[in-house]
């Protein structure tokens, strides 16, 4: 037990969600006779869920800031149809199509952000309106038809890395990505050890570092192997690469930059943030704006993958994204959540969906199971908090240190109390 603690730092519960994910994969591996971990299936998994995970990146920031965005599915659909139409009617090249999509996403985000941040309307209402508005706009401009997109454009949603270099029997670029990831892991571990020495903090025993690295690298290499050994012409898919870049970028922004700090501060205590000089309205505006840009991107990737934009693209995506974020440990009240946690939450949902499908479970049961999993994850989290134990989901990152105060968690009656200054 102690060994596991040292291996993963802090409380073993912190990694409960990762273990749940691993357990889920192993369970389906057993139930489906090994189908879930075949190259074709993991490639499908990434292609089929990357756009939801991209939405979850934006959504976790929105939720940390204490808001919600219900419009993402409709915004994605609207951006998708406009991009498909402009490319078809004006003959825009694929890259200009992407620019049009991102700009349109930003404009929509500015519109919604304006009402949320500067007019002070709850995001729930503004984005509920946006959900109707942009769904209608999609169907109005697309005349409820399906608009195809060019093969060039399809690359961002269904593309693969090229086959280059010597014939190794693997996709060489995928191998390269895997090796870069392994190198980054080793470099990161070395760097943190060096830093700990420099700061005079406690240095983890060497065996902990090594064991951890071995486990992580083995996982990365195995996944690399899976992606590199698919059917000829396939590799780690392009949407997966886009997602990976976004996770790294947003993970960094949320944890390490001033704007990231401001988002947590505004969500944690808006008044305290404002009195510390945080421009809370601007923060709200940017978070909502960013969400719509990412929704636009997700819409384009989906359109590219399905070769065409249609009137019912993106229906229900907001719910998948929100579920991923909450399974990933974010708090409804704001101030808590991480990008990486949301990715794991999203992957749990994706693996569940995929695995049940492979087992031949119908969509009725799949929905019931997904609903129960969402509820169970949050119930377990809340229960842990109320017991004064650190929440295992919420504590996946050290950022959330302050949540496990026993007094705060148990003294519910006082929390609802009010003091009204006359």
């Amino acid at each position: 037990m102690n060994a596991i603690k040292q291996l993963f730092g802090g409380n073993t519960r912190q990694f409960g969600m990762i273990f749940a994910l691993v357990a889920l994969v192993l369970f389906f591996q057993w139930q489906t006779g090994g189908v879930i971990l075949t190259p074709d299936n993991v490639i499908n998994l990434v292609n089929g869920y990357s756009y939801i995970l991209i939405l979850a990146i934006g959504m976790v920031l929105v939720i940390i800031a204490g808001h919600i965005d219900l419009s993402v599915g409709s915004v994605a659909a609207f951006v998708g149809i406009v991009v498909a139409l402009t490319m078809q009617d004006w003959g825009l090249p694929w890259y200009m199509g992407i620019v049009v999509g991102l700009v349109l996403g930003a404009v929509i985000g500015a519109w919604q952000g304006f009402f949320v941040a500067y007019v002070g309307i709850p995001a729930f209402i503004v984005t509920l309106a946006g959900m109707l508005l942009f769904r209608g706009a999609n169907q109005y401009f697309g005349k409820s038809l399906t608009i195809p997109v060019s093969a060039d454009f399809q690359y961002i949603g269904a593309g693969y890395l090229k086959e280059i270099g010597p014939d190794t029997g693997y996709n060489n670029l995928t191998l390269l990505l895997g090796f870069i990831a392994v190198a980054a892991l080793i470099w990161g571990e070395l760097r943190s050890r060096r830093k700990a020495v420099a700061l005079g903090a406690d240095v983890k025993p060497l065996w902990v570092s090594i064991t951890r690295l071995v486990i992580l690298c083995a996982v990365v290499l195995y996944v690399t192997y899976l992606f590199a050994t698919g059917r000829p012409g396939t590799s780690f898919p392009v949407p997966g690469i886009i997602l990976g870049v976004l996770v790294l970028a947003y993970g960094f922004i949320s944890a390490r930059t001033t704007i990231g700090r401001h988002i947590y501060a505004v969500g944690g205590n808006r008044h305290a943030a404002a009195l510390s000089g945080v421009k809370s309205k601007r923060t709200d505006f940017l978070v909502i704006l960013n969400m719509s840009v990412l929704a636009g991107l997700a819409g384009m990737i989906f359109v590219a993958r399905s070769n065409a934009s249609g009137p019912s693209d993106g229906v229900g995506w907001e719910l998948d994204a929100i579920a991923a974020v909450f399974i990933g440990g974010a708090a409804v009240t704001g101030g808590v959540g991480t990008v990486v946690g949301s990715m794991i939450g999203g992957l749990v949902m994706a693996v569940l969906n995929n695995g049940l499908q492979l087992m031949g479970v119908g969509s009725d049961m799949t929905q019931i199971i997904k609903g129960l999993v969402l509820l169970a994850a949050v119930v377990f989290d809340v229960y842990n908090k109320s017991q004064g134990k650190p929440s295992f989901i919420g504590h996946m990152m050290k950022r959330l240190g302050g949540r496990d105060n026993p007094d705060l968690a148990v003294a519910e009656p006082v929390k609802d109390a009010v003091r009204v200054e006359s």
Binding site: R256, A272, V418
Partner: protein, 514 residues
Amino acid sequence: MPSANPIILQMRSITKEFPGVKALSDVSIAVRAGEIHSICGENGAGKSTLMKVLSGVYPFGSYGGEIVFQNEVCEFKDIRASENAGIAIIHQELALIPELSVMENIFLGNEPTRFGVINWAEARLRSVELMARVGLDEDPDTPVKEIGVGKQQLVEIAKALNKSVKLLILDEPTAALNESDSQHLLDLIRGLKGKGISCIMISHKLNEIEQVSDSITIIRDGKTIETLDVKADGVDEDRIIKGMVGRTLESRFPDHTPQIGEVFFEVRNWTVAHPQIADRLVCKNSSFNVRRGEIVGFAGLMGAGRTELARSLFGRSYGNYVSGQIIKDGKEITLRNVPEAIRHGLGYVTEDRKTLGLNLLDDIKTTTVAANLPAISKHTVVDLDKEYAVAEQYRRQLRTKTPSVDEGVAKLSGGNQQKVVLAKWMFTDPDLLILDEPTRGIDVGAKYEIYGIIQALASQGKGVIVISSELPELLGISDRIYTIFEGAITGVLNKDQASQESLMKRMTAVKKSA
């Protein structure tokens, strides 16, 4: 005589553990019928935890020890169970619904019904009677948000009386009240005592405790230290403090020789309107100045407009600016928002630490740097090593009691939280620091340290404004004291001229001293 009365409540060897912390290790207390029993102890000593055990917030089974109330062993599983037994607790943060009327609040959760339908006629009659008993002169239909904090406190007591309470627990009842409201409340508690209702009171205001208590139990580090009989033992404030801190405090204020320079900050004819009601002025034509190295006190009753003045100066974070000038270092400056105020060297520590001052989800190090992120970041990327180093430096300098700066601020005691907030503002290196009730809810030992910090800031040549409801505190640390009454500055007294009486006169009788 209370000392002859039978014992109504006995808590024996109460222990309560939280993961990693033993909040109560062995606390026993005995309360007699019809007495006012105060519980004293520094923050974190376990007073509130003990009261939560007693009132069933922590259910039976989650603590060790035994509770005997009215000769029956009690095993409360929730608050409702303790209320049914006749124990009511009034928390520091009032549990009232602001939108509901006084009457609705009194009967909330306990509505008189006939066949499941609320009998408002009876509720009205009974609420008028209850309001008369607590001396609350208001229309029962007035929404609670429209009456002052003092009266809200009375509504809480009326609510408790309605439940035929035998033992009333008051947690810091006067913390947010002004002098006259406090006095009224204390009189009321004494009146209830005459009617056979016992009362347990937790308060940091030792003068009040000394004034109303029959006996005092002192708790330190989760253990009962002693129980004092106020009259028989001749207890005074110093005696209580000695028990609380385990030693005699030589002085309540550190030594300080002010080195006062020239005027560097001046406010002229500052007028601000209420944020919602345009024709109601919360600051009227106020002018004052602060000199380098000076600690300037602001005295005024609750609601006199002290906080409103401070916050409107601090980047117009309260109210609507009407007119007035701010002159700093000889130049007029305009502070339209908080970032501008911070840039011009102002800092403001709020009176309401938990709702306005701290993000309770944050840890110490992120809080310490929160108001000055640019100083530890490069191209907006925060340097985590610098952050740690800065937080660690202030932790040592201010002697914040915490295992590490990675700890969450929610876990800290009030005094240590306040040190973290002070560190946050010290890190912005302000020229003028405005401290609004800097020692509210902080125990005696920590207060002394906070005063030391304030004096050290002044010695560095900074100007410090201290707003406080506690006149002894202002008299102890200020070099000069302004008085405020109904939004207007009514006078200024030097340290050597000021006394509680002379200040109080200017805080209440505006015409004589203006």
